[in-house]
């Protein structure tokens, strides 16, 4: 993976990044597949396990995010099996490695499908996980994501059999906006990391919801995940008049940590509203004594969530895996198993098409990641989801409050 990435980068340099830009654009569009055949649904006896094939990043960049996601799914599977399985059949997870390279996604998905996967899991990010999901969906196999939350994870960019159970980026951005307005911050500067779709979407949703609620975006800038310096952006924020009362920054570590470190060092002490991908304390050493930072998440992993079931899950996670979950987002993977169990039992079959039809009818179904509503077009939960705001104060993150966004903006791949 590294070879090809390096080689690509080198070529991209020579070709003035045009190729890279085209490739990125291509990433945004996806095939929508047919959904006729069945896999594992026919001719199976009650003894045959239901196989969930995970084509995910077990090595490389995504390992830190995908492996805990899969562990969360495994916890759900173990619980399901203890209760007698799904439709009386035990559930088993198998996996293949994409090396975190989206180009290897289709082959990895095919590998688990060939091994008899009934349904599949793909990586916890739309940009990196969708190729595997498209392969699965186009062969009529349910394509779940561990915990992607870009609204395109569904018919729009993958296909009718693609679903995810983590709270949508649109709801995350909107929750940030409503939280800011509740706190009385009426002006904001928006700083977007352009590398990932989720970050662009969260900032876009923030802007829409913030301005609709009466706030004013007084300035905007972009940066890139790998930039060693955001000095220029700091100059822009400092030069903004009136000075923004809050800064919204959509990114993920390590780029997010770099930007925060340099912003705080330069004396920008405003409250910062971050992204769900910034949840977790593993990066906080980068910015000692960080305070006044707020992160929207689907669930608090700090054992202080208002929902006792969430706290119980994160205790179990630590017991089973030996370490605390990296981020609260892993509840999405746990809920995916809960969701397909319910849908399969309603459908009376594991057939992907029929399970998907039941999922399409979900309205406020209570799962660990929150009440879950899908429609034929929307396969990422947003409506009715309560977003937890995590506050980082003196380097310590903890649950602060919950926001159920009243207005969910529409976001594209931005």
């Amino acid at each position: 993976m590294v070879t090809s990435t390096r080689f690509k980068h080198w070529i991209a340099v020579v070709l003035a990044s045009v190729v890279a830009a085209l490739a990125l654009a291509a990433c945004g569009s996806g095939g929508s597949g047919s959904s006729s055949s069945t896999a594992g649904g026919e001719g199976s006896t009650s003894e045959d396990p239901i196989v969930i094939g995970a084509a995910i990043g077990k090595t490389g960049l995504l390992k830190a995010y995908d492996v805990p996601g899969l562990e969360a799914a495994q916890i759900a599977v173990d619980e399901v099996n203890e209760e007698g399985g799904i439709l009386g059949r035990p559930v088993k997870i198998i996996s293949s490695d994409t090396g975190s390279d989206p180009q290897r996604g289709p082959a990895a998905a095919q590998e688990v499908i060939d091994q008899g996967a009934t349904w599949t899991f793909a990586s916890a990010d739309f940009d990196l996980g969708s190729p595997a999901a498209i392969t699965s969906d186009s062969q009529g196999i349910l394509a779940l994501s561990l915990y992607s939350n870009e609204p395109q994870w569904g018919p729009e960019a993958i296909g009718p059999l693609a679903f995810t159970f983590n709270t949508s980026t649109a709801a995350m951005g909107a929750a940030n906006a409503e939280f800011a307005l509740e706190e009385g911050w009426k002006t904001a500067f928006v700083l977007t990391d352009t590398l990932f779709t989720f970050a662009r979407q969260e900032c876009s949703a923030f802007k829409q919801a913030f301005e609709k609620g009466g706030g004013k975006v007084v300035g905007e800038a972009t940066f890139q995940q790998e930039d060693p310096s955001v000095a220029t952006q700091i100059t822009q924020i400092k030069g903004t008049s009136p000075a923004p009362q809050a800064i919204t920054m959509c990114s993920l570590p390590p780029g997010a940590a770099t930007a925060l470190k340099q912003m705080r060092g330069a004396g920008l002490d405003q409250p910062v509203l971050g992204s769900d991908a910034m949840d977790g304390d593993y990066w906080l050493k980068s910015v000692p004594h960080l305070s006044d930072v707020y992160i929207p998440v689907p669930a608090s992993k700090y054992l202080d969530d208002p929902d006792p079931a969430v706290n119980e899950f994160f205790e179990t996670f630590e017991e089973v895996t030996g370490e605390p979950a990296l981020t609260g987002q892993v509840v999405g993977a746990y809920s995916a198993i809960q969701g397909v169990q319910k849908a399969a039992e309603e459908a009376g079959t594991t057939d992907s098409q029929e399970v998907a039809e039941k999922l399409d009818g979900f309205t406020g179904v209570k799962l660990l990641s929150g009440p879950t509503t899908f429609t034929v077009d929307e396969h990422v939960p947003a409506e009715g989801r309560s977003v937890r705001i995590i506050q980082i104060q003196d380097g310590v993150p903890s649950y602060l409050t919950s926001i159920t966004p009243k207005y969910i903006p529409t976001v594209g791949t931005e």
């Binding site: 390992k63 830190a64 952006q233 330069a266 004396g267 980068s286």
Partner: protein
């Protein structure tokens, strides 16, 4: 005016970081014609040594990082590049890819792939003001260290026997060997210095970003290569100039491109690089016409 001056300060700081990276790559390239892709891993592993020695007294920790950079570069040269020294340049290039992948994965498996925070002295990231301009302490340190390294290199290459041998080898490797220059010693020295420079870059990068991850060497090494190509591969001054040009372009484009285009900053940056190369195929300081080394 104020903003322009501020951007200029930031460009000088970023440029000196890029120049340090480019010189490290240029030194090895000039003596053995190898574009060492694994130079990024020297930076990355040195940074991990900083993570590993985090609780130690600062001078010991910094010393350990510098030592690690040098030893790793020497080890790399001895085990991976010396056996392929007389091989085709493309074999050497592929070898450097292999070394890079190997080291990435060793770190990924042994330490983990998620970014990890490293606490650095807080005063490094604080700023002071001069005539309304914001100057982070770290930028002063970066520029000072880069300046000191340049002076050291110039003195070393011009005043010491080993330095003069390196320059001779860079000029004409076969001739230098025929005249009694010890190839092993010269190349090992070039690697050692490039490892030392990589370790310094690692210290600056970690102080700037506050974190380490297995991919952190990738962006710097690409910038280093491009700086080297832009400045001219045939002499060290080219690497320095290239580093500052790329730093200034990156800051300038970020600051002055219209909002709708700033997301495509790197496309403009590399577009300008191509433009430079169209008029100066051998780089800004390269000869107007010559046969490329590889």
């Amino acid at each position: 005016m104020q903003e322009l001056a501020q951007n200029l300060i930031d460009a000088i700081s970023l440029g000196s970081l890029y120049a340090l990276i480019a010189i490290g790559v240029a030194l090895v390239f000039s003596v053995m014609g190898l574009l060492n892709f694994a130079h990024g891993e020297l930076i990355m592993i040195s940074a991990y040594v900083l993570l590993g020695t985090a609780g130690w007294a600062a001078p010991i920790s910094v010393g350990a990082v510098l030592l690690a950079g040098v030893l790793l570069a020497l080890g790399m040269e001895r085990t991976a590049f010396r056996p392929v020294r007389s091989a085709d340049p493309s074999t050497q290039l592929i070898t450097s890819f292999a070394v890079a992948i190997l080291l990435d994965n060793v770190i990924g498996v042994s330490v983990g792939t998620e970014p990890q925070g490293v606490a650095t002295p807080e005063w490094l990231n604080q700023t002071f003001a001069v005539a309304g301009l914001r100057i982070p302490h770290l930028e002063v340190v970066t520029v000072a260290v880069a300046g000191a390294m340049l002076v050291f290199l110039v003195l070393f290459l011009n005043r010491t026997r080993l330095g003069i041998e390196i320059r001779a080898a860079a000029e004409d490797f076969q001739m230098a060997r025929a005249l009694g220059v010890d190839a092993n010693k010269v190349i090992a020295t070039a690697f050692a210095i490039s490892g030392f420079l990589a370790a310094i870059v690692a210290l600056v990068l970690v102080a700037q970003t506050g974190s380490v991850n297995p991919q952190m060497g990738l962006q710097p090494i690409l910038v280093g290569f491009v700086a080297l190509v832009v400045g001219g591969m045939s002499r060290l001054g080219g690497a320095i100039l290239g580093g500052f040009v790329i730093g200034a372009l990156a800051i300038g484009l970020q600051a002055y491109l219209p909002d709708s285009l700033v997301a495509y900053r790197d496309a403009f940056l590399y577009g300008l690089v191509i433009l430079v190369l169209l008029f100066r195929p051998h780089g800004l300081l390269g000869p107007r016409a010559t046969v490329a080394r590889i």
